[in-house]
Amino acid sequence: MKQILVISGKGGTGKTFFSGCLAVLLQKKVIVDCDVDAANLHLILHPEVEQSFEFIGGKIAFIDKEKCTNCGACKEVCKFEAITEDFQVDELSCEGCTICHYVCPVTAIILKDRISGSYFISKTEYGKMVHARLGIAQENSGKLVTKLREIAKEIAELESADFIIIDGPPGVGCPVMAAMTGVDLAVAITEPSVAGIHDLKRIIELTKHFNIQLKVIINKYDLNSQMSSKLAEELENSGIEVIGMIPFSEEILESVKACMPYLKFSKDKLAKDIEKLASKII
């Protein structure tokens, strides 16, 4: 079983579009959307939720006003400035370190489980899908990503699947690292722009740090063909395989608007080209 992660660094380069293509193309797979705070893959794969679960992200402090003497001990130790002037817990700032609970002299601070979101096991016409919705302004997206991947792996083993397709989050931070650990291959979707290339370089650094094999697709390559060829050459020279280039296409945009994976939406030449390109990663 092979775990394939689709990432980009920069947002909006076409991760979800490409993950959708893989979902249509690959047989025997489990699909995971690891962009837990702004998930989009469900918009084109239309999962039917079979099981849903609450995600406990950590602890949150709660001050019992009956017991609190306003002594200020909690406020003094809180490194996250999460205790307000009138001794309430600012839920947006509390990182659940629980130290206030230990220092409170009158045991007025209770620790509660923090329900930070929900996650789902669903079926789609392309196979099983594991996805989530992190609550607004919640923490611990990395922990949720890890949870999704554990479940996907269990399902994949149960179904003797050949692939796990992981639609990754943008950036290089905690959810990206959680999505990347232990995958067999990362496919970075980039675009020929100073920002796209800058962000790709940070993704390359990250894959090196985790010792993960990386292949690159240059999307919307014709928005700056010269930059695309130069980038492809540089990548090949540094030992990173560029598996192909995809042109900027109104048709792809139309498939997103129609909420369909491109390879389902169209059977045109571009779709054939994408199929050919995607087959290179298997």
Binding site: A38, Q138, P169, P170, G171, P175, A195, N224
Partner: protein, 280 residues
């Protein structure tokens, strides 16, 4: 006044809007809070004056005092400490990437056997592009404390300036850290189901942090789905930037929108005037 530029979805044009705003108005400061992938400098090419390391607190074990009781490991909510006790000695293992720097272990060690140490997790860069003050937060690769780097960058905001914050995508802690405390937030979106879905989420974030919003539609063409959402929620749509191949090509090279098409300068100026009007 602090105006943040956010979106939920990545790649909708946050940096384009933030940079163009900063270039269109007097007395501006731009703070790149997309610390995982900061891009403002690529469009602004500022002269760098200063780099400041962002440090986070970590515990350091005093081997002379520690008796390996394991209390620090029990109370650490992030599982960042592990204590091994053998007959006469032991070891305390710190997993620095898991540590949030709460300082609890240092404060609560029964033997007073932990000292405060520091670890670098990122860097703040400060500079100028003509009259625009440039500030960038950048987290080191493989580090996770993005909110810490964002907060340090935001400490350099000057109240007498118009501070423009380029926020990261998403709706979790880094986005919240960037938007929190703003006087106004501009949500940049695009007229696709992805754009709408993530706009809805980003709008929820701004409600949670109680920041008033307006929307900018980038790659504008048939905007009905976005306009319907905005109308339903009473969100003003302040600007539309149509998709033009020329804009995309110039963006690709790192040319700011207002430098490529100077007519936009006036539009961004009236945008700021509109926000100032609401603020008053």
């Amino acid at each position: 006044m602090i105006v943040s530029v956010a979106s939920g979805k990545g790649g909708t044009g946050k940096t384009t809007v933030a940079v163009s705003l900063a270039l269109s108005i007097e007395n501006s400061q731009i703070i790149d809070c997309d610390v995982e992938e900061p891009n403002v400098s690529l469009f602004l090419n500022p002269e760098i004056e200063e780099k400041i390391e962002v440090k986070t607190l970590i515990p350091e074990v005093d081997k002379n005092k520690c008796n390996y009781c394991g209390f620090c490991s029990q109370i650490c909510a992030y599982n960042a400490l592990s204590v091994i006790k053998l007959d006469s000695h032991g070891d305390v293992l710190l997993f620095p990437h898991l540590c949030h720097g709460c300082g609890g272990c240092i404060l609560l060690c029964p033997e007073n056997g932990m000292k405060t140490g520091y670890r670098t997790v990122g860097e703040i860069t400060r500079g100028y592009k003509e009259n625009i003050e440039f500030i960038e937060g950048r987290i080191n690769i493989s580090e996770v404390l993005a909110p810490k780097v964002i907060e340090e960058a935001k400490k350099l905001i000057k109240p007498d300036k118009i501070a423009i914050i380029d926020a990261p995508p998403g709706t979790s802690c880094p986005a919240v850290a960037a938007i929190k405390g703003s006087n106004f937030c501009l949500l940049v979106t695009e007229p696709t189901p992805f754009g709408l879905h993530d706009l809805e989420l980003a709008y929820e974030v701004t409600k949670a942090v109680k920041v008033p919003v307006a929307v900018i539609i980038n790659k504008s063409e048939n905007d009905k789905i976005i306009e319907d959402f905005c109308e339903k929620n009473n969100i003003p749509v302040l600007m539309k930037i149509p998709f033009q191949r020329k804009i995309a090509e110039l963006y690709s090279k790192g040319v700011p929108l207002v430098s490529a098409i100077p007519e936009y300068k006036e539009k961004f100026q009236s945008l700021i005037n509109f926000i100032k009007g609401i603020e008053k």
